[in-house]
């Protein structure tokens, strides 16, 4: 695991080496033209930065040499000294010394002594002659024989990586196309080349995805401070433990869930954990426990926020959902725990009794849901009254490529991201009943409403779906069970095509306003395939159920 200190050290080294190379370059320019203004300004700036950075890292000797050189270059720039004679020698020695010191930092060795150099620099600043000896001159000649070193770290803008990933996405689409064509043409040489292209682009895709991965720790490590602040504002004692910081995830995914995670953590401290008095009264340890952990599960990354607080009061949530008009009292009474908890993530639903300045602000946990929806992620909630609550964010490792199930409706393919699929069922009519005009089946001891995907997609108008009757069901029904916010919905499709990794392209204007589709993908055949947005489909079904 990379700690923040290590990260700072790497940044410092990379930048210091870059500064050193740049200094050497500008010194050569200055040697040719002692009055080169831009080079003088640059040397002054580089020394200034190196000084500040070295001091921040605690490398005071390095900072001191840079500081002296900065002062000297300031004087040369202001034409109080000239870049000539013995001064030139001392400056070169000084920059070489910086190089040695930076390398020593990189190699974890003690910094070489710079007393004589500092003394000479002091003399020059005071306008005195430096003391130069033969040995020093010899040493500096050795410098030119030293190996040049470049940092083996490169800093790259995320934008450039995004661009690379998009290009790879396009490549993968074309590759699939070529693969299909090669199979159709049945030319062995073409097929062999296509297979080679397939492997290479696969490797390329994973390399690019890999370059974008960062440890979840870069986000988790920000939380001790947040928890401390929220806890002290709330007058609570909280012990935060972190784990799984080295689990790898796409940098942009981490960026997108930052606010959501912040919200969950603040919520856990403000509302999840009880006050000290309440904990004592409940016979619990005074210090509340909060655990933030990351782990991988199949291809997904799970980030969990676990507290040992009061747990979700299901009945209170149920009441509030009815008060807020999110559900009728009759329906609410029939909902199980998980279905009730799902209301916590509806827009505008907040259980906070008072609006604290830290987690209140009138924003509910719906931001969590929105962030997850935009990523095609999932949220799991586990809670036990009096024992604690665990929120689990289920995230894809990478944005660009998603596992999807291709289904067919009216001879058109549609892709459903695997993150939202529970299972596929082939049901005979006897396994389907009609309840209140809705087809229902029982799966894992839960009733799951069924709806023909055809109706959801193609029925016109805003009116409710037609009442279903048993006559609608003839022969076996192919059902894809999707899951959103702990709500299951069975989509009846014509047939399942296959499971496949897809690259999703966003829909362009003006069609991007139709939220039923998360984008499009091109199949190997060149066919355009719409990617269904399960959250939007689920909402559409809930709005239109008869």
């Amino acid at each position: 695991m990379k700690t923040r200190d290590q990260e700072y050290r790497e940044l410092f080294m990379a930048e210091a080496l870059e500064y050193y190379d740049s200094m050497s370059r500008h010194l050569s320019e200055l040697e040719r033209n002692p009055n080169a203004g831009p080079s003088l300004n640059e040397l002054f700036r580089l020394m200034h930065n190196l000084k500040a950075n070295a001091r921040a890292m605690g490398f005071n000797d390095l900072g001191e040499v840079a500081h002296h050189l900065e002062t000297l270059f300031g004087l040369i720039r202001d034409q109080e000294r000239t870049f000539s004679g013995p001064l030139t020698r001392v400056v070169f020695t000084g920059v070489d010394a910086l190089g040695n010191m930076i390398r020593a930092v990189g190699a974890n060795q003690p910094l070489p002594d710079a007393t004589a150099l500092l003394d000479n620099l002091d003399r020059l600043v005071r306008g005195e002659e430096p003391i130069l000896d033969a040995e020093e001159a010899a040493e500096s000649e050795e410098e030119s024989n030293k190996k040049m070193e470049l940092s083996d770290l490169v800093y790259i803008q995320v934008k450039k990586l995004d661009n690379l990933l998009n290009l790879v996405g396009e490549l993968v689409i074309d590759r699939d196309r070529i693969m299909t064509l090669a199979q159709e043409l049945d030319n062995p040489a073409l097929l062999a080349t296509a297979q080679h292209l397939f492997r290479i682009s696969d490797d390329l895709q994973y390399s690019v995805m890999d370059a974008r991965l960062v440890g979840v720790g870069v986000l988790l490590n920000k939380f001790p401070r947040v928890v401390r602040d929220v806890a002290s504002a709330e007058g609570k004692e909280v012990e935060l433990t972190l784990s799984g910081q080295d689990v790898q995830i796409d940098r942009n995914i981490l960026q997108i869930i930052t606010d959501a995670l912040l919200h969950l953590v603040r919520n856990a401290v403000s509302h999840g954990l009880e006050t000290t008095e309440q904990r004592l009264a409940a016979g619990k340890p005074v210090v509340g426990k909060l655990n933030l952990s990351a782990l991988t599960e199949r291809d997904d990354v799970l980030i969990q926020v676990r507290d040992d607080g009061r747990g979700i009061n299901t009945e209170a949530v149920r009441r509030k959902a009815v008060e807020r008009g999110l559900v009728s009292a009759n329906t609410a009474a029939t909902l199980d725990e998980k279905a009730v908890w799902a209301f916590l993530f509806e827009p505008g639903f907040s259980m906070a009794q008072k609006v604290t300045d830290i987690s209140g602000r009138g924003v509910g946990l719906d931001v969590v849901k929105l962030a997850l929806d935009s990523l095609g992620g999932q949220l799991r909630v586990e809670s036990e009254l009096g024992v604690g609550t665990t929120f689990t964010l289920v995230l894809p490792t990478s944005i660009a490529v998603k596992g999807a199930l291709l289904v067919e409706v009216e001879e058109r393919p549609y892709a459903v991201p695997l993150l939202h699929t529970d299972t596929v069922l082939s049901l005979h009519p006897g396994q389907i009943s009609v309840v209140g005009g809705v087809l229902v089946t029982y799966f894992q001891e839960q009733s799951v409403p069924l709806v023909p995907l055809r109706q959801l997609l193609y029925d016109e108008g805003d009116g409710p779906l037609p009442f279903a009757t048993r006559d609608d069901i003839t022969g076996p029904q192919q059902v894809l069970v999707v899951n959103y916010n702990n709500r299951r919905l069975g989509l009846v499709v014509d047939r399942f095509i296959r499971q496949q990794n897809i690259v999703i392209k966003p829909l362009s204007k003006p069609l991007d306003t139709i939220d039923l589709f998360g984008g499009v993908t091109l199949l190997g055949s060149g066919q355009v395939c719409l990617v269904l947005d399960v959250p939007a489909l689920t909402r559409l079904f809930l709005n239109k159920r008869p």
């Binding site: 396009e170 689409i173 009216e410 058109r412 997609l457 193609y458 016109e460 108008g461 805003d462 392209k505 829909l507 362009s508 204007k509 003006p510 069609l511 306003t513 139709i514 939220d515 039923l516 499009v520 091109l522 060149g526 066919q527 355009v528 395939c529 719409l530 939007a536 909402r539 559409l540 709005n543 239109k544």
Partner: protein, 175 residues
């Protein structure tokens, strides 16, 4: 579309230089329509169109045009110009037109052709165009050809605003 036919303008008018307009002309229903060539990105045989649920009927769907996914519009349907019982032909053409930040495809039944005429021949849209309530909003004007016949010149910039393109039925239900 490299070759541009010159309109057969009367010789007398040739003498003074007139500002010329190049149009891409295509047939909708039984009328000729034109779009200024600078608003046209390309003309192609219509690629496979995937039906797009939850869109008005005049949006035929989406198609893959050189890696870009664009919406394909049927203007005959939009302007209600299709005579009853005349289906779209098996093979149709798509005029890809450019809006400010996206591209749209217009599906037409016959090969579109380029046509050049003096700007002065385009008369601003008259008020008396009575049919097809929505169409006159998008007219730049009407070109009367010397040999008879007219070309209705459409202004794509007016047509292509997203709110014009998409008057989505049932949008409230899905959002």
């Amino acid at each position: 579309m490299a070759e541009i036919e010159l309109a057969a303008a009367p010789k007398a008018e040739r003498a003074k230089p007139a500002e010329l307009v190049q149009l891409i002309v295509f047939r909708l229903g039984d009328e000729d329509y034109g779009i200024r060539i600078e608003q046209v990105k390309e003309v192609t045989v219509t690629p496979e169109v995937a039906r797009m649920p939850k869109t008005p009927p005049f949006i035929k769907g989406i198609a893959n045009l050189r890696g870009d996914i664009i919406a394909i519009l049927d203007l005959e349907e939009r302007f209600r110009l299709r005579p009853a019982g005349r289906p779209l032909p098996e093979r149709s053409y798509t005029v890809a037109v450019e809006a400010a930040d996206y591209t749209l495809g217009l599906m037409v039944r016959e090969v579109p052709r380029p046509f050049t005429l003096p700007l002065s021949q385009i008369e601003p849209a008259p008020e008396f165009v009575q049919d097809a309530g929505t169409r006159d909003k998008y007219l730049e004007g009407i070109a009367k050809l010397p040999e008879g016949g007219i070309i209705i010149v459409l202004d794509m910039r007016k047509l292509l605003t997203p709110s014009e393109v998409l008057r989505l039925p049932g949008k409230g239900a899905s959002s």
